[in-house]
């Protein structure tokens, strides 16, 4: 089993390396290099060539790739083309903002989603189960910005309880923090909650349909004992897999939600970077998001290995 997990870790690292190549190719080698992007279309060829030399773009791509990688590993992410500021500085502050948003969401969603999914699976076809199924189906199908705008309309415009945008992270007090983050966290949570509850429900339902549970029912074991002593123990790893897979969703969810509420996080940085073709910023942000994503998928993979005896024994 350990070799299998190490193997997965190796695959994860390999994927990360391939991602660096893709990000590098995507932002460096495709038409309109950084020098042209900085100077705009009206620049003379001489000016572009001069800037290219100055930025070191005339050297082979492979050399620049290794410089970029080694810079990233030592914390030197280069400077933004748009503002000239050091990217590590730009990111440091925004990274903690995004982490706060995503962390709060995960903290709220993980326990409640599992509870919802568990209860819905314990009483399949009950009124509660039907409500959960229909509500989560709607939430999953609806775009994040509809939820966000509806929440703003209700809580910020009609009731005037909460601010419509969350552009500040200079919190005066804990109450102010809650007030500022309430709507972004709520929007993100609803989508995540729906997905996670749905997957938890089907995971547990799957286990409740297995033959050893049928055996326990036939033996006359009481319902709660079956769920908590027989099913839940076996559901641990698959649920861990569900949690990790869904937290990986946060990587894209956060981009939309930060934009809706003008929240000063990493996502805002990369979206602005794409609009202004600020390649070093895009590279750095994309690597952070992809690393987080790959990490979550890796955790999900390992949880799946731990949960499946067949995977545990033979290498896949």
């Amino acid at each position: 089993m350990l070799t299998l997990i190490l193997q997965r870790l190796g695959v994860g690292l390999l994927t990360l390396w391939l991602v660096t190549i893709l990000v590098f190719i995507g932002t460096e080698l495709l038409p309109g290099d950084v020098a042209e992007a900085v100077l705009g279309q009206s620049a003379t060829p001489e000016a572009v060539a001069a800037l290219r030399t100055e930025m070191g773009l005339d050297r082979p791509a492979i050399v620049r790739y290794f410089e970029w990688i080694s810079g990233m590993l030592t914390g030197d992410l280069g400077a933004s083309l748009a503002s000239g500021a050091q990217i590590s500085g730009l990111i440091a502050e925004r990274f903690s903002n995004t982490l706060l948003l995503a962390g709060l969401t995960a903290f709220l969603v993980v326990p409640s989603a599992i509870l919802l999914g568990l209860v819905a699976a314990m009483y399949p076809e009950s009124i509660f189960d039907r409500i959960v199924s229909v509500a989560t189906m709607f939430l999953v199908a609806v775009p994040e910005f509809l939820l966000g705008t509806l929440l703003v309309l209700v809580f910020a415009v009609q009731l005037r309880w909460l601010p419509a945008i969350s552009y500040t992270t200079e919190f005066r007090s804990f109450g102010h923090l809650i007030e500022t983050l309430a709507l972004p966290v709520l929007t993100l949570s609803l989508v995540l909650l729906a997905q996670m509850a749905r997957m938890t429900r089907s995971t547990i339902l799957n286990i409740l349909n297995s033959s050893y549970i049928e055996m326990a029912v036939l033996k006359g074991v009481r319902r709660h004992r079956i769920v908590f002593r027989h099913a839940l123990v076996n559901a641990m790893s698959p649920i861990a897999n569900v949690i990790a897979l869904n937290l990986a969703y946060l990587v894209s969810g956060v981009v939309i939600v930060e934009t809706i509420f003008a929240y000063p996080g990493l996502a805002k940085l990369i979206v602005d970077g794409v609009s202004s073709r600020d390649f070093p910023v895009i590279q750095a942000c994309a690597m952070i998001f992809c690393t987080a994503y790959i990490l979550f998928i890796l955790v999900a993979d390992v949880a799946a290995i731990l949960s499946n005896p067949r995977l545990r024994r033979k290498a896949h």
Partner: protein, 291 residues
């Protein structure tokens, strides 16, 4: 890479026999889809105003007179703008999903038939692209190449082709080992003959269900990009960009941003209702899986 997530689909031959009936929820979904398709095709000819026509001097004017849903941030008729942008929204997503399904299933089944090195190389490449968060992949590509409609369609199609590939390959793997395929091989049939006569008919139903799921993902993905300002660019508009344009009006109580978002939501919910029925009658809830 995620084994627990790998599609588990029933054997093809059992699926093709499944009778398909719509429940009342499914019929409701079909009605919504039909409604939007008609709007997309007929709408531009009967809409009260054109895409750029002004109905008011001020932005976010309330509904009244010929203007059913009020005005947008510049004073253009919101109702007409939603109607006019329907075909672009649905057309782009539809084209992207067609690319995803055709490329993904062709490669997936090809890999399943060939096996060995061919399968391994294609699968590794697909896995790498699949391990990119889709939105990040989209942002990097748009940063490099700029947001043209053709690029958006192609990119979305290829991104979702990786998901279709995994499902088609899993389906193909199941079917390839069936006796009737072995018999066809023993008869000396050509690979393409086996593909079109034995494998595709048996893989069709789950791939159609998947088309529905993929279409709703494509709509959400493309409108998210437009919402971020990185998708469809003015003077053209899709529902996502209509939401983006009119977000500011929300604070003053204008519903202009809500209507196009509701249009997207109704279409994707309609799709999901149909897909749920389809999946239920095929015996497996593929829709429950997030691929």
């Amino acid at each position: 890479m995620i084994d627990a997530e790998a599609p588990k689909v029933a054997r093809g031959d059992a699926l093709s026999k499944a009778r398909f009936t719509l429940t009342s929820a499914g019929r409701f979904g079909a009605a919504i889809i039909l409604f939007w398709l008609i709007v997309a095709i007929v709408g531009p000819f009967v809409a009260p105003f054109t895409l750029g026509e002004f109905v008011s001097d001020e932005g976010f004017a309330p509904p009244g007179g010929a203007s059913l849903l009020g005005a947008d941030y510049l004073g253009r008729d919101m109702f007409s703008r939603i109607v006019h942008s329907a075909w672009l929204t649905l057309g782009m997503a539809g084209a992207a999903t067609l690319i995803a399904t055709s490329v993904g299933s062709a490669l997936g089944i090809f890999a399943a038939i060939k096996g060995g090195w061919t399968d391994m190389i294609i699968s590794r490449i697909v896995d790498t692209f699949h391990s990119f968060p889709t939105l990040m992949l989209g942002l990097v590509v748009i940063a490099a190449l700029g947001p043209s409609s053709a690029l958006l369609i192609l990119m979305t199609g290829l991104i979702y082709a990786t998901s279709v590939y995994r499902i088609a390959r899993a389906l193909g793997m199941d079917i390839v080992v069936m006796d009737y395929v072995q018999v066809a091989r023993a008869r000396g049939e050509h690979t393409s003959w086996i593909l079109f006569h034995e494998i595709l008919p048996n893989a069709a139903t789950p791939l159609v269900v998947d088309f529905g799921i993929r279409l709703s993902f494509s709509i959400l993905f493309l409108s998210s990009l437009s919402f971020l300002g990185l998708g469809v660019q003015p003077p053209y508009a899709d529902w996502g960009s209509l939401v983006r344009e009119n977000m500011l009006g929300l604070i003053s109580g204008s519903l202009a941003a809500i209507y196009p978002a509701l249009a997207i939501a109704s279409f994707t919910i309609g799709l999901n209702l149909i897909v749920d029925d389809f999946a239920a009658s095929s015996g497996r809830a593929i829709s429950g899986k997030i691929a």
